[in-house]
């Protein structure tokens, strides 16, 4: 192609090669709340980059959904943090899984990854709502040297899933429907009051409205578009 810029041709498109039609066994299901759980499945030597997602479905059901990695890229299992969707076939069936059950696995896919995780000069702000925290846990387990802060927006404290996995100084909660978190309100309210330090690279993962609103707040506080990365969960 004429005049093709090298930076475009060297974009990081899926570092790993997706697998298709694999059947993995469920190793465990950790029920975190009535509406959220972690399903751990066999890794089966499938390579993945932290933050990527995979599609999961009950073996033979014909239906699947994408879920972001919750485990680290070097863990010998895959984990996915799943929110139970009312009437949702995949999430409710995964919730009922027992060790030894089979799930269809396709992937990994996706570009919501950290480009240079070993650069010590980079500071990260990981902003999530609900189960949108999943890819961040994957980053943190994969790159222990990351200089990060998580800003986690939830309705209730019970939705601060496995918060002990994060050092308290790096995990900030914004709770909308009860007291007891670091901040009472939404992540957008928090960021209006306490914007990130200049140079911080911001990741946004959650629902459409949160991402669109938070992006504008961060831009208004001088975070350049090149330092903002987003992935929608819904």
């Amino acid at each position: 192609m004429p005049n093709t810029p090298v930076d475009i041709l060297t974009l990081t498109h899926a570092r790993t090669t997706a697998r298709l039609g694999l059947v993995h066994r469920v190793l465990s299901v950790r029920h975190l709340t009535e509406a959220a759980f972690v399903v751990r499945i066999e890794r089966n030597d499938v390579p993945a980059t932290a933050g990527q997602c995979a599609t999961l479905g009950i073996h033979g059901s014909g239906i699947n959904r994408e879920y972001s990695m919750y485990a680290g890229e070097h863990d010998d299992y895959f984990e996915f943090l799943v929110r139970v969707v009312e009437g949702g076939q995949v999430s409710t069936e995964l919730q009922r899984c027992q060790p030894g059950d089979q799930v269809d696995f396709d992937g990994p896919y996706g570009q919501f990854i950290i480009e240079q995780p070993r650069d010590p000069a980079r500071k990260y702000l990981f902003i999530a709502t609900g189960v949108g925290i999943a890819p961040y846990r994957s980053y943190i387990r994969s790159y222990p040297q990351l200089d990060y802060t998580i800003l986690h927006g939830v309705r209730y404290l019970s939705e601060c899933y496995e918060r002990d996995d994060y050092p308290p100084a790096r995990y900030r909660t914004c709770v909308t429907r009860e007291d007891g978190g670091d901040f009472r309100g939404r992540v957008s309210d928090y960021l209006r009051a306490q914007p990130p330090a200049p140079g911080t690279i911001c990741y946004l993962c959650g629902n459409n409205a949160m991402i669109a609103e938070t992006y504008d707040i961060l831009r208004a506080h001088g975070v350049p578009g090149d330092q903002l990365f987003a992935e929608i969960f819904f």
């Binding site: 192609m1 498109h13 997706a18 239906i63 570009q111 459409n208 819904f234």
Partner: protein
């Protein structure tokens, strides 16, 4: 200020018209086909709502010759012209922009579309355009950019809106960084149907079984899956945005009750799934819109819609379901990151058919790794699906590496590209080296299109009449003729392509 959102008529040497719209790759059609560019139509509506004079200037849908279109544009003398472009017509657009800048030197030309957004510096260098939008959210960007231009003489130097390339001088450009990936789509207005002369797009479109039909404002902008390697909706800077169910339902109600449309198609890369899909279908039923004789159509992907959801959609009068069956071999599906298996395609299609929908398959051939065995399996599977009645219509395209998709990057890196002439990227011929002669792929395409006139397929459509559904009668006796015209058009394209292989 007067803003023209313009689609010039582009006619190739075979007398076919380029269909530039919806940020899709350009295809040339001999049979008239008019697609409403939804996002640009939202942009037009928004700018008009802000008080600007908007000229909806689709030369194709308005049946103008190029000369007539250009003369009208000059006479209108807009302050800003917005163009949408993709790879096969880039050279045309660069020439056109330079012509506009000569004839209307004070007019600001804004380039949008996937090619220029992926490689903005090229378009800035190749033509005299003033702005390149890197964002696919054309409506949101123009909503801010146009007022800024209107209010600031030094807008080129001072505009800090993200996702723009701005011209400061002949070879002096300003890049304002990455664009905002996710927007709140509920803020963008519904398309003003009168402003965009919706009826011009309401009849000549192969997706409609009943007319007038129209495209709804997309509920998903880009694609919520977004992983397929050949697709423009894939990239590290792309995700998707979603519109609320209730806002979309309001629009459907208005289209049916005020505009009296008889078929509505949502061209989202992939339509809602799961909870939103059920809410939408139930909303159609709750509002009684399923009893108005209007059909609804969507794009989806295999493994997204479960049987209960499909059943509800059937009750809500969904009919047309466009779904990609890119190949029938697992190796190709894996390489393309499709995330489904052939048996899931059968299962999903059986559900769609069971609840009265008309699945439309979009098949691709010509991957650089595709062997004869892989190709044969795809042809065999497609014929089987059509003969069984699991799909009603199909469209076969040649897989063309679209600018800077992972598949394109792969083709460049593997050295299999046969051309670097943008004009060759119009999906009329294979432009990658393949393990088998190109002629085999053209034969395969003809074989798949040939199903439409095969006695087994026709007999299956006759058997569908026993269902008593009006749509099955319409399909056989009304749609059949139009479908045959389109098959003839596709075969015409391929016959021509074989006489003009890439260099």
């Amino acid at each position: 200020m007067k803003i023209a959102i313009s689609y010039p008529p582009i006619v190739n040497e075979r007398g076919q018209v380029a269909m530039v719209s919806q940020n899709r790759n350009v295809q040339f059609f001999k049979t008239p086909t008019f697609l409403l560019p939804v996002v640009h139509a939202q942009a037009a509506t928004w700018l008009r709502d802000l008080g600007y004079t908007v000229l909806w200037d689709d030369g194709n849908a308005q049946l103008k010759s190029f000369d007539q279109w250009y003369a009208d544009l000059r006479a209108a003398a807009p302050d800003i012209i917005v163009l949408e472009s993709t790879t096969p017509v880039m050279k045309f657009y660069w020439r056109l922009v330079n012509q506009i800048k000569r004839d209307l030197p004070t007019c600001i030309v804004i380039m949008t579309g996937y090619h220029s957004m992926r490689n903005p510096q090229e378009t800035m260098a190749q033509c005299a355009c003033d702005v390149v939008l890197r964002s696919n959210h054309v409506d949101f960007v123009l909503r801010k950019l146009v007022p800024f231009i209107d209010e600031h003489q030094n807008w080129r130097e001072t505009c800090d809106q993200e996702g723009l390339w701005l011209r400061l001088g002949e070879n002096d450009f300003r890049n304002t960084g990455n664009f905002k990936q996710v927007e709140n789509l509920d803020l963008s207005p519904d398309v003003d149907r009168d402003l965009v002369q919706w009826q011009r797009y309401a009849y000549e479109n192969g997706n409609y079984l009943q007319v007038p039909g129209t495209y709804a404002t997309s509920v998903i902008r880009d694609c919520m899956f977004g992983k397929c390697t050949f697709c423009r909706y894939n990239g590290p800077d792309l995700t998707f945005s979603i519109r609320s169910v209730q806002k979309s339902l309001d629009e459907y109600q208005k289209l049916i009750e005020v505009y009296k449309v008889r078929e509505i198609f949502d061209d989202s890369g992939v339509w809602y799934r799961g909870k939103q899909a059920r809410e939408f279908a139930q909303g159609i039923i709750d509002r009684g819109l399923h009893k108005k004789g209007v059909y609804f159509g969507i794009n989806t992907r295999f493994a997204y819609l479960d049987e209960e959801t499909i059943k509800l959609m059937g009750k809500a009068n969904f009919r047309f379901v466009l779904v990609g069956l890119e190949a029938a071999d697992e190796e190709t599906l894996r390489r393309l990151n499709k995330g489904y298996l052939p048996h899931q395609a059968y299962q999903n299609l059986a559900w769609f058919t069971k609840y009265g929908m008309h699945p439309h398959l979009t098949i691709m051939v010509g991957y650089y790794w595709q062997t004869q065995a892989m190709l044969d399996l795809t042809v065999k599977t497609v014929r089987d699906l059509m003969f069984r009645g699991l799909a009603r219509t199909l469209q076969v395209t040649i897989c063309t590496p679209l600018d800077y998709t992972p598949y394109h990057v792969e083709c460049v890196q593997k050295g299999v590209m046969l051309t670097d002439d943008y004009n060759d990227f119009d999906m009329s011929k294979l432009i990658v080296r393949t393990p088998i002669p190109h002629a085999r792929f053209y034969e395969a395409i003809r074989s798949m299109y040939g199903v439409a006139v095969h006695p087994r397929f026709v007999a299956r459509q006759v058997r569908f009449l026993a269902s008593g559904r009006k749509r099955d009668w319409q399909f056989l006796f009304t749609y059949g003729w139009r479908a045959l015209r389109r098959v003839r058009n596709h075969i015409f394209n391929l016959t021509q392509a074989q006489h003009s292989p890439p260099a």
